[in-house]
Amino acid sequence: MKQGTPARPRAPGALMRAIRFLGGHKRTTAIAYSALIVATLAQLVVPVLVQNMIDTVTLASQTGGDIRTAEGLVFNAAGLILLFALLRGAFSFVQAFMAETTSQGLAFDLRNAIFAKIQRLSFSYYDRNQTGQLMIRATDDVERLRTFIAQGLVLAASSFLLLTGALIILAFTNLRLTFVVMPLLPIALALFIFFGRVSQPLFAVVQERLSALNTILQENLAGLKVVRAFAREPYEEQRFDVAATNLMAQQLRINQVFSFLFPVIFLVAQLGQVAILYFGGRQILGGTLELGGYQKFSLYLTYVFVPLGQLGFIITLVAQASASARRIFEVLDAQSEIEDKPGALPLPLLNGRVEFRNVTFRYLGTGDPVLKEVSFVAEPGQTIALLGATGSGKTTIINLLPRFYDASEGAVLIDGHDVRDVTLDSLRSQIGIVLQETNLFSGTVRDNIAFGRPEATEAEVEAAARAAAAHSFIAAMPEGYQTKVGERGVTLSGGQKQRIAIARALLLDPRLLILDDSTSSVDLQTEATIQQALDTLMEGRTSVVIAQRISTVLRADQILVLDQGRIAAAGTHAELMEHSPIYAEIYHSQLVKETNL
């Protein structure tokens, strides 16, 4: 079994990949950037407009006598600037709004992609990764990336445009002075690259340390009672303090870099201004430059320096967004080791013959095998009961059938098809599963029962619930089958959840059934009800059952006694009672007898 530990995507590449997602939003991107070009180039007109006002006022003040003409000139100039304000405002708005819209679309795409990926990742991925970590990627990291697309990228584009436009105007105004400014650009570029390189890993570490801090927080909230029961508050506080201090230290490291970076970038721009004053001044004194020409030049100089000043901000956004993009693509690129083979065929309608052929399994591909060369055959309609201690491999056998994991060696066959050769959908949709721990999803009770068959009718849902002995407690709930459950709804007890899971499996009417008949955390009356429901469920289907109850064992066509990953004994109840001392011992001392007759 090859494990999907993906190579870490390179950060700049990851950011480029994220930007390529804009391809899915061509229209809004095009509008945003067209508006951006107009709005940015319009900025270059501002000095002309202001100069025009100054000239108008000067001219008007010199037009002796004719006040009306002079006032007319002033009003015209003022009108012009108001018109400009209106147009530039409109284009700026369109640009900002469209860029936001695009970025929201991109975030939407990324979240959907992450969600879809999470749905399809194999179970071993969840054994290795924490919910909190995945959540941070889908929310915080996506938001950072979105911010970059909405603002950072736009800012970079407009800065570049402004810089280029201003330089062209400067070159036409005074080529010699322009050459004085030019050396600033490579310096600024070098700074940009240097600080980008330095700060990007720093931001990645911040995200890591923030996750670590949040993990402690989350664990302490979830394990509140344990912490208190052991009076470990001081220990946990100390652990948290260490994490908080680590995070702070990293923030301060970034702080150091930026306390240096920002002044340096501004200084570069300001020193450019000083250089122009000195060299331009010497040209004026030497008679090769008019004062007016110098003033016009220095007006446009601002448009070179403002974008340079934005560099620091752009660097921050690029660095944060690259770190986040890399973390997002780590999830999106994670290889799910359980995937449809190329050319996998749908599994035909099941008869229900199950075969394990020399199956060995190791978690995460390493360590001692938890299953060692397990072989058995279940004919259609048979019940296989799995017995054994915790950790003997019962759950693993159950997990291999719907291909939640792949066998490390050997093969699992259903109706003669290797489960790895058929499509996951066709395989899993024909297997009904009732687990010991049942997760309910936000939605109504009805939705949860119809989980495997959303199109089921109300009558079918209710019939399944009745057969699962769930109808009476559902009917007693405030809104019956329409009662909301899950994260934001009514909390159900363990026993109620389990009955809903049974109803869910019944509704699916599968040929092959996998179940864990141990009933956890319910009182005894409920346990008896659940037992009956399970018996109904198993009738006439191939069932692989982790058995706790004598009735299951007595009825089983084959009992597999597992011990440390091996089949220690196999056979029917009668056979085993005769030949297997381990089984006889388990039978006499440990199985729970039926309580309701």
């Binding site: 709004f97 029961a229 200084l267 009356q525």
Partner: protein, 627 residues
């Protein structure tokens, strides 16, 4: 002026915004966190004032260069009269001096800005760390009752997102707002100093700018409130998909759940786009108003000039003043735009602070009494005297429960769900307080001793074993932090956990997934039992601790328990007859009261509630020979 910073303006428009209610109080409480580093805050302010002054000086200096040296007919400047006959070298040298001065100002100004940024963050990050630590400590101070009223997930997201919002504002935003305000004050004073009525007319646009800021950020706030709700569904969907991945895959429901997520996600996107229409409008509107201000300056100034009419009785506006005011207005607009954009940010930071302080103000119901003593080494006599406990709603959960246990006794508590069994055991480590009556251990009322000394002598194994994402070794060691590896392994052996731990990929050093992921429920339970065994408590509480392990494992645990329970007082909520039969005292709880008590045999002989329960539930469980 600084243009950006880590978490600078880029993140500001989209942070969820909320209007703070008690700004003054909240700011004062923030200050408490800054107070230990007040000198850094004062230093920052001094540095900011100095660098702003330097910034204000530079345009004047450039003007001097033009006036003194570059104008052919320059006659007067700041240090006296210029000789019109000065040579090229003289003028170039003078220009050189000014250029050097400018360089000095720029270098100095940058240095000061860098230092201000550094010292602000230095203090800010320290304040934030302390705020985080206080919040964390508060989590454990609050009693369990708080968490039944408030969902842990909500508290979590409140703490993380609120501190994040504050963090965003602390460094850059605060600095640029402060330096922006200084810039505005300087410019305003200069304008008012030059000509009061002209300044007032030029500034007449400012109230409009303020209105625009309030209007757009108010509308955006409303839109963001909706987006926040939608974001809640997005997060819930994600959370479910991660924790319920097994079910989703088992039922091949990927396509449907992706579709459902897509809908929640789309609703969130649409709410955000709506909010964006307001946030995107703010800046262009303010910029346009800035141009309107220029137009006003020019028109009003020129009319006064042309008509030779003084403005409200002051002097006639001169050409020079119009030019100066055009510059002032331009210099004025930039910080206003910046502050306006940061405004929503600062508001949400204050609102976030308000929520965090709200959490910090929450009064823990269970606190050590001022004169609480350290509970000495106990023998383990637990006495309940007429104990009553009520829910928040006032309904009584326990209606006068009394019992006495001798040290070393094993007490089994049986009864239907909701009878109050868990409530009884929660009172012993004082997770909740009684309404009436009292709970004593060795004669000490649990309310009169420190919680730490009480709980450290009580071992608890809960129904839902909680494990940390750490190594198996450290998870067991949680019971007694100073235990050696050998002691940990011995405890694991006692709890029958050693065998399966050895088979894990890295043995005791295997790092467990979240909440013990990768282990079966039974295995997790065994580790939790080993943890309690290691703590070596005098009193042991088992809350249906063996309900989720298979019967064979349960028997092994039972044997471990028999050793573990030896000489300790123990309370067991059990569903299995074998446990109950071993108990020295069985308490039959029904409807918040102990209805029957005694040994198993005594209770059977009573032929009451216990007998009925036994007949319906346990009878079949018994060994034929034992019956």
């Amino acid at each position: 002026m600084m243009m950006g910073g880590p978490g600078g303006p880029g993140r500001m428009l989209n942070t969820e915004t909320e209007r703070p209610k008690r700004v003054g109080v909240t700011l004062a409480r923030f200050w408490v966190y800054f107070r230990p580093w007040w000198y850094a805050v004062v230093l920052t302010m001094i540095l900011l004032v100095l660098s702003t002054v330097m910034q204000v000086l530079t345009p004047g200096l450039i003007g001097q260069a033009v006036d003194c040296y570059l104008l052919p007919n320059a006659t007067a400047c700041w240090y006296g009269t210029v000789d019109p006959a000065a040579t090229f070298e003289d003028r170039a040298a003078g220009l050189g001096v000014i250029v050097l001065l400018l360089t000095g100002l720029f270098v100095g100004g940058s240095l000061l800005q860098g230092l201000a940024f550094y010292s602000m963050n230095w203090a800010g990050q320290r304040a934030l760390r302390r705020l985080r630590e206080d919040t964390f400590a508060q989590i454990h101070r609050l009693s369990l009752g708080f968490y039944t009223r408030n969902e842990a997930g909500n508290i979590m997201s409140r703490i993380t997102s609120d501190t994040d919002t504050i963090q965003q504002v602390l460094g850059f935003a605060l600095l640029s707002v402060v330096s922006g305000i200084m810039g505005i004050v300087f410019t305003m004073s200069a304008m008012l100093f030059a000509n009061v009525p002209y300044a007032l007319v030029s500034l007449s646009i400012v109230p409009l700018m303020a209105w625009a800021t309030f209007y757009f950020s108010g509308e955006a706030r409303k839109a963001f409130r909706k987006s926040r709700r939608e974001m809640g569904s997005v997060n819930a969907g994600l959370q479910e998909s991660i924790s319920g991945a097994r079910e989703v895959q088992a039922f091949s429901r990927e396509a449907e759940s992706i579709e459902a997520f897509r809908r929640a996600n789309a609703a969130n996107r649409d709410a955000n786009v709506r909010a964006a229409s307001f946030t995107s409008a703010l800046n262009p509107v303010l910029e346009a108003l800035g141009y309107v201000a220029i137009a006003i300056v020019v028109v009003v100034g020129s009319l006064s000039l042309l008509r030779n009419q003084p403005l409200f009785g002051t002097t006639v506006i001169s050409v020079g003043l119009i030019f100066a005011f055009i510059q002032y207005v331009q210099r004025f607009n930039q910080p206003i735009q910046q502050i306006a954009v940061l405004w929503t940010n600062i508001q949400s930071a204050i609102a976030g602070g308000e929520r965090i302080f709200g959490l910090l103000d929450e009064q823990p119901e269970i606190v050590d009494a001022p004169d609480a003593v350290v509970l000495p080494q106990i023998k383990g006599q637990v006495v309940f005297e007429e104990v009553q406990v009520a829910y928040q709603t006032g309904t009584l959960v326990l209606k006068g429960v009394s019992f006495v246990t001798k040290p070393g006794q094993m007490v089994a508590i049986v009864g239907p769900t909701g009878a109050g069994k868990t409530t009884i055991i929660n009172l012993i480590p004082r997770f909740y307080d009684v309404l009436k009556g009292r709970v004593t251990i060795d004669g000490y009322d649990v309310r009169n001793v420190t919680a730490a000394s009480l709980r450290s002598q009580i071992g608890i194994v809960l129904q839902d074993a909680f494990l940390f994402s750490d190594t198996v070794m450290n998870n067991i060691r949680y019971g007694r932090l100073e235990a050696t590896d050998e002691e940990v392994i011995a405890a694991a052996q006692l709890a029958s956990a050693h065998a399966f731990i050895e088979r894990l990929p890295d043995g005791y050093q295997t790092v467990l997934g979240e909440r013990g992921g990768g282990l079966s429920q039974g295995q997790r339970q065994l580790i939790a039992i080993a943890r309690a065994a290691l703590a070596n408590p005098r009193i042991l509480i088992l809350d249906e601790a063996t309900s989720s392990v298979d019967t064979r494992t349960e028997r092994m645990i039972q044997q471990a328990f028999d050793q573990l329970l030896e000489g300790r007082t123990s309370f067991v909520i059990a569903h299995r007859l074998s446990t109950i039969r071993n108990a020295d005292l069985v308490l039959m709880v029904k409807d918040g009261q102990i209805v029957e008590r005694g040994t198993h045999e005594q209770l059977l002989a009573l032929r009451g509630d216990y007998y009925a329960l036994y007949m319906s539930q346990f009878h079949g469980e018994e060994e034929p020979q034992a019956a």
